[in-house]
């Protein structure tokens, strides 16, 4: 470096001032040496993006490689990646699949039902739901070769070795078997000291997804027990008839001590299971519940404001426009239907990706909305589970 003082460079003159500080000159000399030997860090270029994308890509580019009929009401859609290798996931996690239906861009999260060690594809197992906008579209219109975008694997419903222990019980209702089977395979691969008990509940035997595979795994592995519960079975059905109950859980499991309970199924099933588990003394910390979308009928929730009689409200997006939305519909859905895109993944109030700020007007936040304390102070809501109850203005 030249010794001429750069007039812009004030620090240069102070360098001399600082020279009298013990150690200053030595430190300057060290620094000068590093400047000779060191790297300009150009080798790091792009490294952060690459590293992050291998574990947590923002989007996956997927192609349907196969569609498997599971039951009359259920299909498994197999997706391969047309881009980078599929990222690893923890058994129980989901991806959020983006779709365009009749000009509406939306998305739905589905649990990955293929095994974690299956590196070449993800399976999503989809069951028909009454009035299901996306599920029914996928069941009716998807075929091999179609292309999709999705998020990377997400979600907090998975086996956590830090505290879940070795004695696991999974209460699966209907399509809740999708994460359950992935978790089961993961646990079986961990060895025989684990035990996994699946209580699998359905209305009809026609609905039993993966049942042959589950039965044969149960025969093969002593550490896996399968209890089938069907509420409307035919006469010759060998499993439990009727509904899951606290008694049934207690009788099939014996002690609840040290057990960890996973619950995944339709919302009424989940609510019911939690109630039954609590009634037999299972503490909160031993129950893991999978998120299950926005409440279908928020008007029936106890906190819903009673004063509302309007059917529609006006939603204004600051600086961008406004539209009418139905009372009782999640804000995210009406935004999407009106052409606004908001990042989202869980669509159940948990991940917070869909946050928007309410500038004016009121919004109903059900218990599903896992808001931060400061969100409440400053008006941020999770649009996937936020229900406008009057005209609102939002910012995002």
């Amino acid at each position: 470096m030249s010794n001429t003082v750069n007039p812009k460079n004030n620090a240069d003159s102070t360098y001399n001032v600082l020279n009298s500080i013990v150690g200053y000159q030595e430190a300057v000399a060290d620094k000068a040496q590093w400047e000779k030997d060191g790297s300009d860090l150009i080798e790091l270029k792009g490294s952060v993006d690459v590293t992050v994308a291998t574990l947590h890509p923002k989007r996956l580019t997927l192609e349907v490689s196969k569609v498997i009929e599971e039951t009359p009401s259920t299909k498994t859609i197999r997706f391969i990646s047309t881009g980078a290798p599929l990222p690893p996931f923890q058994a129980g996690q989901y991806i959020n699949l983006f779709v365009d239906i009749d000009g509406v861009s939306t998305a739905r999260p589905y649990a990955i039902s293929s095994a974690c060690d299956e590196k070449n594809y993800y399976d999503l197992t989809i069951k028909r739901v009454t009035d299901g906008f996306v599920s029914n579209h996928l069941l009716d219109n998807v075929s091999q070769g179609q292309q999709f975008l999705s998020t990377g694997p997400m979600g907090t419903f998975y086996y956590n070795p830090l505290f879940h222990g070795e004695d696991l019980v999974f209460l699966a209702g209907g399509s809740g078997v999708a994460p359950a089977i992935t978790m089961l395979k993961d646990i079986l691969s961990r060895g025989s000291k684990y035990s996994f008990h699946m209580i699998y509940c359905n209305s009809y035997i026609d609905d039993l997804i993966f049942i042959n595979e589950l039965r044969s795994l149960a025969e093969q592995y002593p550490q896996f027990r399968l209890t089938e519960v069907v509420s409307r079975p035919p006469a010759n059905f060998e499993g439990f008839k009727g509904h899951l109950s606290a008694d049934l859980i207690r009788n099939t499991l014996g002690s609840i001590e040290n057990k960890l309970f996973y619950v995944c199924g339709p919302t009424p099933f989940n609510d019911y299971c939690i109630g039954q588990l609590k009634s037999i003394g299972v503490p909160n910390k031993r129950i893991r519940l999978e998120a299950n979308g926005a409440p279908k009928n928020p008007q029936q929730l106890s906190d819903w404001p009673t004063t509302i009689d309007a059917e529609e409200v006006m939603v204004t997006v600051t600086g961008r426009g406004s539209f009418k939305a139905k009372i009782g519909e999640p804000l995210l859905n009406s935004l999407e239907r009106n052409g606004y895109s908001v990042e989202n993944a869980c669509r159940s109030g948990e991940c917070s990706l869909c946050r928007v700020k309410v500038i004016s007007g009121n919004v109903f936040n059900p218990p599903e909305a896992h808001l931060r304390k400061s969100d409440k102070t400053f008006g941020w809501v999770h649009s996937c589970v936020a229900y406008p109850t009057e005209d609102i203005e939002i910012l995002f």
Binding site: S13, V17, S20, Y24, S39, D117, T156, T377
Partner: protein, 511 residues
């Protein structure tokens, strides 16, 4: 609107205070954030009934209402003082080396002296001298040193900063060795090296001294609702002043023009969505490495930047467990919000271990609801368990071994903490593990660094000029100064003041 006075890239602490200062100072400002929420490190997340603080362990620089310090003024100027509530911690920290000692230092300058003297009878006189030294150096660093530098007078420096001249740049280790014989008291007093990320032999004594003095005299603080509450309050203040913000919108390029004298000047920012937004100045809160090596459109970064980078190294990241525990702090045996648990008194060893994917020998445990129950659901506890770790280590972990590696290490951290606080595991209701790669994902920093470059003596502004190779481009955050909350809040504010000044000058020149 596509035309701004200033664009701020990144809504971490530095970006938020920069944007708010700019907008309140009359500059039309756009704040771009890659993620969906403001804060960078200063954030929180929700699991079940818990809201977890991500990064703030102890806020410094606030002072009490009676004895306010600089952050109170800055927060007031930023319009957020009324929007957040602070909680004072009663203790600096408890430090335990099982089998050796277990000492709790109170958050009071007088109390600190008393406790240390009672614990280390043989070192009583040295304690007085040492703590006076810390106080002196702090005073000189806050006022006299900047003044002497501004004036540029050697005489002024000598007369007003005698302690700093003698000890300021000596390593913390050398100073502790000079004053104390007992290894234990040295370990107790050096504990805050963790907040800098380098062991006492590699940090300037002034940096340690200022921390000890400032935390004891001006208290350590938490923020109700977590540091997220401050981040959201800053954003609110920015929006109230008329600022524009875009989330899920990373800056992809900083576009420049080349002037006739071959210097370049900022003219716009292109977003990840391809939109070009013009501006007169850019303050980047993203890492300087990203800013100059990737965002800047000049191809090669300016020579002065290359030169600067050559004398730097990427600083430490962290491995953290966020624990929601189904029991009270009392049940766990917690007697202080901040705790250091070490299985050795050798800080060099602790630092070496940060370079290995092995069980750490030093961990930090923070219990947020110890001083204020509102930080956790009733009857429960919000605890973070952290060890510092270099991010580079994780490059070699294959993706399909990532989860396994992370849980194996997390398990060891719990084991270490359980030496002092048994029954952690049995009470886990929620747990989330963050590795250096998690930090990398959310901060976009090389190595997932949380404090910027390694914070040795040469990292400080005594050895660095502001890089002004590109006109209108400023940095604000932990990459051009100290890391940590107070320094980065302040860095954003001062970068914004510099921009406001520059824009005013330009305006006058153009009239």
């Amino acid at each position: 609107m596509n035309n701004y006075d200033a664009i701020v890239i990144g809504a971490g602490n530095g970006g938020l205070t920069a944007a708010t200062t700019l907008q309140r100072g009359g500059c039309r400002t756009l704040l771009l954030e890659k993620h969906n929420i403001p804060g960078g490190c200063a954030t929180s997340f929700v699991r079940g009934n818990y809201e977890f603080e991500v990064a703030l362990h102890q806020l410094s620089g606030l002072g009490t209402e009676k004895k306010p310090f600089i952050m109170r003024k800055i927060f007031t100027d930023l319009g957020v003082m009324e929007k957040v509530e602070f909680v004072q911690e009663g203790e600096l920290y408890r430090i335990v080396v099982p089998g050796e000692f277990d000492i709790t230092l109170p958050a009071s300058w007088k109390g600190l002296k008393t406790v240390l003297k009672a614990e280390f009878l043989a070192e009583q006189d040295n304690i007085d001298v040492f703590l006076n030294l810390c106080e002196q150096i702090s005073m000189e660093s806050f006022m006299a040193l900047p003044r002497a530098r501004k004036i540029g007078s050697d005489e002024v420096l000598k007369s007003s900063c005698p302690t700093f001249i003698k000890y300021g740049l000596v390593s913390a280790k050398d100073v502790l060795d000079e004053f104390f014989n007992d290894k234990k008291i040295k370990t107790v007093l050096a504990a805050y090296w963790c907040y800098l990320g380098l062991p006492p032999s590699q940090i300037a004594f002034s940096d340690l001294a200022v921390m000890i003095y400032a935390y004891a005299a001006f208290k350590p603080w938490h923020i109700k609702g977590g540091s997220q509450a401050m981040s959201s309050a800053l954003l609110e203040s920015f929006l109230e002043a008329g600022g524009d913000v875009r989330f899920n919108c990373a800056a992809d390029k900083i576009l420049t023009t080349t002037n006739t004298d071959h210097t370049s000047e900022v003219k716009a920012v292109r977003t990840e969505h391809g939109e070009v937004l013009s501006c007169k100045a850019v303050i980047s809160n993203a890492s300087s490495v990203l800013t100059y090596n990737e965002l800047l459109d000049t191809g090669q970064p300016p020579v002065s930047v290359q030169q600067d980078f050559k004398s730097r190294e990427i600083g430490t990241s962290a491995f953290v467990l966020y624990l929601g525990l189904d029991c009270t702090p009392q049940t766990l045996g917690i007697t202080s919000a901040s705790n250091f648990i070490c299985s050795t008194m050798d800080e060099e060893l602790m630092h070496e271990q940060m370079n290995k994917l092995e069980p750490p020998v030093a961990t930090m445990l923070t219990c947020y609801n110890f001083d204020d129950p509102s930080f956790a659901p009733e009857g429960k506890s919000q605890v973070s368990l952290l060890c510092l770790q270099y991010g580079e280590l994780w490059n070699d972990v294959p993706p399909d071994k990532y989860a396994e590696t992370k849980y194996a290490l997390a398990d060891k951290l719990i084991e270490q903490a359980e030496q002092v606080f048994p029954n952690i595991r049995d009470n886990i209701e929620e747990v989330e593990v963050a590795t250096p790669l998690t930090m990398m994902r959310y901060l976009n920093t090389p190595g997932g660094s949380i404090y910027g470059f390694k914070q040795n003596a040469q990292d400080s502004n005594l050895f660095r000029d502001r890089i002004d190779a590109v006109e209108g481009l400023y940095l604000a955050g932990c990459w051009n100064g100290m890391g940590g909350f107070q320094p980065t809040y302040m860095a954003g504010e001062s970068a914004a003041r510099a921009v406001i000044k520059q824009l005013k000058q330009k305006e006058t020149a153009n009239v």
